[in-house]
């Protein structure tokens, strides 16, 4: 009874995934596509839960069903019917419809071939005995890793190199986003209903992030999930019209962004000096060191994701006074800015005063 119910559940889940993926990709309306992709992410989170991957389900619930949807929705609202959503440089040869059809068929056949090859690889993987995989090694060494959640042990201890490099990838992405120009102008200040939502949602998200970070040592959770949840708090603040979204300004911000890689390297190098292998924690210290690295990584990941949502370098509060900006920023600051940007630009206290009065109006 239970097994057949689960089988039907699996089939329905798989069908939803396939049809949502197809529907999200088939439509040419950008907003519709994004919403369908968010629904896909939500069902994917359920699939991870079903396949007993709660760590992945947590990350997917925070990122797939929430953050990446917010990111894409902001991009759709950003440039209505332009490069992103209207046509840019044509990819198809519009006037050669035969050629286009041939291209489409070739690519479709290629994709079918790819799916076939992947299925073959999958069959190979399934045939291998479970003992031959790394799972055995992980469970044998879990006791010395400093944590009892095997996924955290793999990420922060056994394969710490990979996580260090991943944080470097995130850092590179932030630098790329910074290099591309200033952040989007931001959002209108929240009305009473949204303001009420923000007032409880942001503290709860921060608490949830702290909880996930702490619980990650012995249960599903950890720096990635906590970082994504913390970033969601920043995104909500941004959507409510806050400009700084709780991020620190200037050099402190740079420090936070680099905190993940920095702490990781610092720990690794200190261990080298002490005569241990790079990132080879002594078992007695492993738990503490992992928590230290994870805290720094959480802050860096959260800052990265919030900056990703801003879509560029955050605007300093005083735009006109500071000179010597990199070219990209100076071009954009020459453009006429919105009224809010101007009013906040000259008077240092104007920004906070404005928020204050707006807060009062909400009550």
């Amino acid at each position: 009874m239970t097994t057949s119910a689960m089988l039907i559940l699996d089939i329905l889940m798989v069908l939803s995934l396939l049809s949502l993926a197809a529907a999200a990709l088939a439509t040419s309306d950008a907003r519709r596509s994004v919403i369908l992709f968010m629904a896909f992410g939500l069902v994917l989170a359920l699939a991870w839960a079903r396949l007993q991957a709660p760590d992945v389900a947590l990350a997917e619930a925070a990122i797939g069903a929430g953050l990446s949807g917010a990111l894409l929705l902001a991009a759709v609202g950003d440039q209505p019917r332009r490069a992103l959503t209207g046509d840019t440089k044509p990819v198809h040869h519009h006037d050669h419809s035969n050629l286009k059809l041939m291209l489409e068929w070739t690519v479709t056949l290629l994709c079918i071939a790819v799916a076939g090859a992947l299925a073959w690889a999958l069959a190979q993987a399934f045939e291998r005995a479970p003992q031959a995989t790394l799972a055995q090694a992980v469970s044998e060494n879990l006791a010395t890793s400093g944590v009892s959640n095997p996924v955290t042990a793999v990420l922060l201890n056994f394969r710490a190199y990979d996580t260090l490099l991943e944080l470097a990838v995130l850092l590179t992405a932030v630098l790329g986003i910074f290099a591309l120009g200033p952040a989007r102008p931001g959002y209108r200040t929240a009305g009473p209903v949204f303001g009420g939502l923000v007032r409880w949602l942001v503290p709860v998200l921060i608490l949830a992030a702290a909880y996930l970070l702490w619980v990650g040592a012995h249960a599903p959770g950890g720096a990635f999930q906590a970082g994504a949840t913390l970033a969601a708090a920043g995104v909500v603040l941004r959507l409510a019209g806050q400009r700084t979204v709780g991020l620190p300004q200037g050099p402190t911000l740079h420090l936070v962004i680099a905190a993940g890689v920095g702490t990781f390297l610092l720990v690794g190098l200190s261990l080298l000096v002490l005569g241990r292998p790079f990132l080879g924690y002594p078992p007695a210290w492993a738990g503490g060191l992992i928590l230290l690295i994870e805290t720094a990584a959480m802050l860096a990941i959260a800052a990265t994701l919030v900056l990703a949502f801003l879509g560029g370098r955050p605007q300093p509060p005083r735009v006109n006074v500071t000179g010597g900006k990199p070219p990209a920023a100076s071009i954009s600051t020459l453009r006429p800015r919105s009224r809010e940007g101007l009013s906040g630009a000259d008077v240092p206290g104007a920004e906070s005063h404005k928020h204050f009065s707006e807060e009062n109006r909400q009550c």
Binding site: V193, L197, W200, L201
Partner: protein
């Protein structure tokens, strides 16, 4: 006895969920669908969490379940309002 109670709660919760989904599909426009949505959020999840909490007999888990229900309640009320407002603004603009 407790098992019967919790089963009853879970099943009635599911009823509200299904009613909400069917309402969402069958009702003619956004504002009436809003009405279907609230049944699933408030009563469906509420009864389900009550049933599951009773079933686990674990105070910590029951507390978490109540927390989740409250979060969904507050979040869905606010977001349904925001979405309806957004749709209305779009309508009046065009």
């Amino acid at each position: 006895m407790i098992e019967v109670m919790s089963s009853l709660l879970i099943v009635s919760g599911l009823g509200f969920y299904l009613a909400g989904s069917i309402g969402l599909l069958r009702l003619p426009d956004l504002y009436s669908r809003l009405h279907a949505l609230t049944k699933a959020d408030n009563l469906g999840l509420g009864l389900l969490t009550a049933g599951l909490g009773l079933y686990t007999q674990d105070l910590l888990i029951a507390l978490k379940l109540v927390l989740i229900w409250l979060a969904v309640l507050a979040a869905s009320a606010a977001s349904a309002h925001l979405i309806a407002q957004h749709a209305r603004r779009r309508e009046t603009q065009s």
